[in-house]
């Protein structure tokens, strides 16, 4: 499927490392669609972007559905733990 399904968030006070080194992140898009590289028909894809620095300012991941679920749980745990720091 070409789902077009896309969630987009604003990203603040965050950084990513791309081919040119570290850069500040501005947006992230999350979508379930065809991967470019991962060996599956559909993956959960995340693009961390900084449009001001051009299309190459991008940190991209293509995650299998199982991996995305594990990441989600890990993020949840970490964020909850962070609240106690």
């Amino acid at each position: 499927m070409c789902t077009y399904s896309t969630e987009k968030i604003e990203v603040a006070r965050s950084s990513g490392k791309g081919p040119e080194g570290w850069f500040p992140l501005r947006t992230a898009t999350v979508y379930y669609d065809h991967p470019v590289h991962a060996p599956d028909e559909h993956t959960v894809n995340i693009d961390f972007l900084n449009p001001e620095q051009g299309p190459g300012a991008r940190v991209a991941v293509e995650l299998s559905l199982d991996t995305a679920r594990e990441l989600l749980a890990a993020l949840q745990t970490t964020v909850e733990r962070a609240a106690h720091h």
Binding site: Y4, T6, D47, P55
Partner: protein
């Protein structure tokens, strides 16, 4: 021995708003006249495989061109980065696509080899856009390869600029070949049936083929979704369809 040679190159053409946009073209190195084909790339972008499709149409005897629909957002960027940028900005507006497709049709007709006929073929989001060319662009034939949201409504809160085109069916001006996988969800088999019904009711010329064991993107040779049997049969229909409607 038949002479088999094509010229393939990047060109700049005038698209929507008279903007200069990047395009990839391949033409047979043989005298015309012959038809032209607009190849509309899938949502992942103007990539190596899309360019291979352009060259294939030249080998089949057509002047072919594919506009980089993400030229404006991401000039010179890697195809995957360009697609990510376009997606983050909400995708390609229909109006801009139509302007670029009209520019491509004009460019093809201006070639000295042109017989005046132009067809379009699009994959994935390009399938929907190929349908749109039959309404908005002077084409003599169009091939919709698994385009979603020709019928059906995008989910609420959907950030991409894509509206269903069902209400435009009465305005269709060119024959349509539709190629779909029965395991696809976008478009689903029910949506394909709905589109077929609308085309029938409006008395349009169309030809649909549906493939079992194939889902979305079964033509994509570099992806796990590739289904050789569906793709080989699909190409056979594409060749016959363009031979019928773009000859002369």
């Amino acid at each position: 021995m038949a002479y088999d040679a094509v010229l393939a190159e990047t060109v700049g053409i005038r698209g929507h708003g008279d903007d200069l946009v990047e395009a990839y073209t391949a033409r047979p190195l043989a005298p015309g006249p012959r038809g032209g084909v607009i190849v509309i790339h899938h949502m992942p972008g103007y990539d190596r495989e899309s360019k291979e499709v352009v060259r294939r149409f030249a080998v089949l005897g057509y002047d072919a061109i594919c506009v980089n629909l993400y030229s404006r957002e991401a000039p010179g960027a890697a195809p995957d980065d360009a697609a990510a940028t376009a997606r983050a900005r909400g995708g390609v507006p229909d109006e801009r696509f139509v302007g670029d497709a009209r520019g491509a049709a004009r460019w093809l007709r201006d070639l000295p080899t042109s017989n005046g006929k132009v067809g379009s073929i699009g994959y994935c989001s390009g399938g929907r856009q190929a349908f749109l060319t039959t309404v908005e662009v002077d084409v003599q034939a169009a091939v919709d390869c698994y385009g979603a949201f020709v019928v059906g409504t995008p989910p609420e809160g959907f950030p991409l600029q894509v509206q269903p085109l069902a209400d435009r069916v009465p305005e269709v001006r060119a024959p349509i070949l539709g190629l779909f996988g029965n395991d696809d969800s976008y478009p689903s088999p029910e949506q394909v049936d709905e589109l077929e019904k609308l085309l029938q009711e409006s008395g349009k010329t169309y030809e649909f083929h549906r493939y079992d064991g194939a889902g979305h993107a079964f033509f994509s040779v570099d992806r796990p979704s590739y289904r050789p049997e569906a793709a080989v049969d699909g190409w056979r229909h594409v060749e016959a369809f363009f031979a019928t409607h773009l000859a002369g």
